[in-house]
Point group: C2
Chain length 238, copies 2
């Protein structure tokens, strides 16, 4: 933004899933906005409702449907003046088809943005490894979006998914930041790169909080960064 | 919070002053909330409006009054369901007397909370050094609140205020995170500890982002942390 053409979008962040990931996402959005002073940054409203029922439990048929909570959040953001909605939670994207018609605002689709981002890395990228919640994996969100751009998704086996990926994600949600978090995630990532993954998608917003990029031998894609860049582009603050 | 008594408060954060400080404040609030899973965290709504006119410029009579922007933010937070308001910007507290009657919600006063916090450090604490914007210093916010609890405030001299403190704050707002930010702030802090300051108050939310606690020989008080702890206590999430 050059100061003469202020951004007209008001970013609505449907957050709280989890709250640490929401804070991290807003931090990244601010850092990636090229403002030199406060007044060049983006107007943003954040609804952070950590009481939204667990998305993975719902997708596995073991818990309540979070759709009403998500629709309530969209209403709050709309009434607060947001002009578009970003959801910094991968698993919640499984519910986007249920809310998009009723949200009243465009939803910038994080996983669709990741697919577009990966195509920009060039045609030699054919295989991406996915670290995500069991809910995201079962819902097939990345598999579907990446298939459309010709990229295969490699998944952890059942044991690694349960004992390494979910253990790491839940440890981040519980506020742990030690090696106890990063090591199981790094082991799961290495199993995927050994099988040919050319990038690792940190497909749960908690994963980049627990897994340092230097712990794996290929690029770590952070969907939160990809989404933040997409918002900056769309808002005209570039 | 023990899970059986969920917090009933909805935290409203009047932010954007600046946006990086708002992101940092929400990160601290989440980290200081003792939840073990998402659902134990606090419902929070954040209105981050970086277009609020510069608070220091207004206090020095060189820019527009930010009061209408602050009242608009209070309205958004109230309509979104917030039950109390926190303002993670020290300088904006100079305008609290103009908005508190019309905000429609209680404002948890960051500087008042810092005064209470300092009294809990014991009666030997008599002198605090203040690093803050020129607007905060001129408005006398800390001087007034700390005088009420019997603590003197030491201020940088005019040259240090302009060339070290404001230079450091504006560098953080511009996204700089290098030694170029920390060194002038640390020099200003050392001048105050040389004169007898027993603690340094990082009295602008940008300062703890640029000044590492280990760079100064006395405790660095971060008002954002003090405010976050006050919110956690009041919300019942302890």
């Amino acid at each position: 933004m050059d100061g003469s053409s202020p951004a007209t979008q008001v970013i609505g962040i449907l957050g709280g899933m989890g709250p640490a990931a929401t804070a991290d996402f807003y931090t990244k959005l601010v850092a990636l906005t090229p403002g030199r002073r406060d007044q060049e940054h983006l107007k943003t409203v954040i609804w952070s409702d950590p009481t939204v029922p667990d998305r993975t439990e719902a997708l596995l048929g073991r818990g309540p449907d979070p759709t009403p909570w998500l629709l309530n959040g969209c209403r709050v953001l709309r009434e607060a003046g947001a002009t578009l909605i970003a959801i910094p939670c991968n698993t919640a994207h499984a519910f986007v088809p249920r809310i998009s018609d009723r949200a009243g605002l465009p939803i910038v689709h994080m996983i669709g943005e990741v697919a577009q981002h990966l195509t920009r890395r060039g045609p030699s990228l054919r295989t991406a490894g996915l670290l995500a919640t069991t809910g995201t994996v079962r819902a097939g969100l990345y598999q579907e979006c990446l298939a459309r751009v010709g990229i295969d998704v490699l998944l952890p086996d059942r044991t690694s998914q349960a004992n390494e990926v979910m253990t790491g994600i839940l440890a981040v949600k519980a506020g742990k930041r030690s090696d106890a978090v990063g090591e199981p995630l790094a082991r799961a990532a290495h199993r995927l790169t050994d099988r040919g993954a050319q990038v690792i998608i940190g497909g749960c917003t908690e994963i980049p909080l627990g897994l340092p990029p230097q712990a794996i031998p290929v690029p770590l894609i952070d969907p939160a960064v990809v989404l933040a860049r997409a918002l900056v582009r769309r808002s005209g603050a570039r």
